[in-house]
Symmetry: C2
Subunit: 148 residues, 2 copies
C-alpha cells in the first residue's frame, strides 16, 4: 500500500525540486510517494495506476511530466531494457540492473567503485562518459530463503 512520505523524503523532494526551479505540487508529491512506496522499478503505467488510487483525477500526461521532472532534478533514474517500457528507479547510488527473464522483475545490483573504475578505464583517450548503464539479463533464483 501507499504510505505517505516521511518528513525526510518530503524535504528531499522539495529541496530537489526547488533547487532546479520547479514547483512542489500535489501531483508531484503523489508520484514521488508511489516511487518510494514500492521500489520495484515500475513503468509509467504502473506508476499511473498506483497513483490514481490516491489521486483519482491524475492524468497519464502528468505522470510522464512528473517523472521527466524528477529525472531532470536527479531524483530518479530511468531504466531501459531492450525496447520495453521505460521504468523508474529512485535508487541514486551507482548500481547495475539485473532483468529476470522469467519474472520480468528488475533487481538493483550494487556496483563497487573499483568495478566502476575498471569500466571507465576501458574507454580510449578522448572518450568522456557521463553515464554508464550496465544491465544483466538472465535468471535469478527465488531469493525468499534468506541465505543459510
Amino acid at each position: 500500500m501507499i504510505r505517505n512520505l516521511t518528513e525526510q523524503d518530503k524535504e528531499h523532494l522539495q529541496e530537489a525540486l526547488i533547487k532546479s526551479g520547479q514547483k512542489v505540487t500535489p501531483q508531484r508529491e503523489a508520484v514521488f510517494t508511489v516511487l518510494l512506496a514500492e521500489r520495484d522499478h515500475p513503468t509509467v503505467d504502473e506508476v499511473f495506476t498506483r497513483a490514481r488510487e490516491v489521486m483519482p483525477g491524475l492524468s497519464l500526461a502528468t505522470v510522464y511530466n512528473c517523472l521527466e521532472t524528477f529525472v531532470g532534478c536527479g531524483l530518479v533514474r530511468q531504466v531501459n531494457h531492450e525496447r520495453e517500457s521505460t521504468r523508474y528507479c529512485p535508487n541514486l547510488a551507482p548500481h547495475a540492473h539485473f532483468r529476470d527473464k522469467d519474472t520480468g522483475r528488475v533487481h538493483d545490483i550494487e556496483l563497487p567503485p573499483e568495478v566502476l573504475k575498471s569500466l571507465r578505464s576501458i574507454l580510449p583517450p578522448g572518450f568522456d562518459s557521463e553515464v554508464i548503464e550496465i544491465s544483466f539479463h538472465g535468471r535469478a533464483q527465488a531469493k525468499d530463503t534468506h541465505s543459510n
Copy 2:
C-alpha cells in the same frame, strides 16, 4: 558503397542460417551485405534504405524479419540506447558501446576479459546472467587527428 559479400562472409552467413534451420535467400544476403559494408550500427530504416539501393523491391517488414533471423542465428547483435530505434551490430566479440551525445554515433569499445569477469563477479549468488549490456553515453573527441 555496398560491395558484394566476400566468399568468406557468404559462407559465414550460409553456415549460420542453415545451422539454425533457416534458408539462404537473396533478401537475407542483401541485408547481411549492408550490415557488413558499413559497420556503423545502422537502424532498421537505415538498413532498409541502403538495401533498397541494391534490391528495390525489398520491403521494410522483410528487413525486420531478416534482422530478427540474424539475431536468432547469432550473426548480429541488437544495440539499444534509451528508447531510440534499435541498431544492429555485426561485431560478435564481447564489447561495450559508446554513444556520442553530439553525433549520435555509436562506437564499439573493446571489453577485456578481466573487466568482463569483474563485472560478473558483482552478481550475488543465485543470479545467472547470459547477457551483459554495457553502454556509455557522453562525448568523444573527433578522432581524425591520429594521436600526436
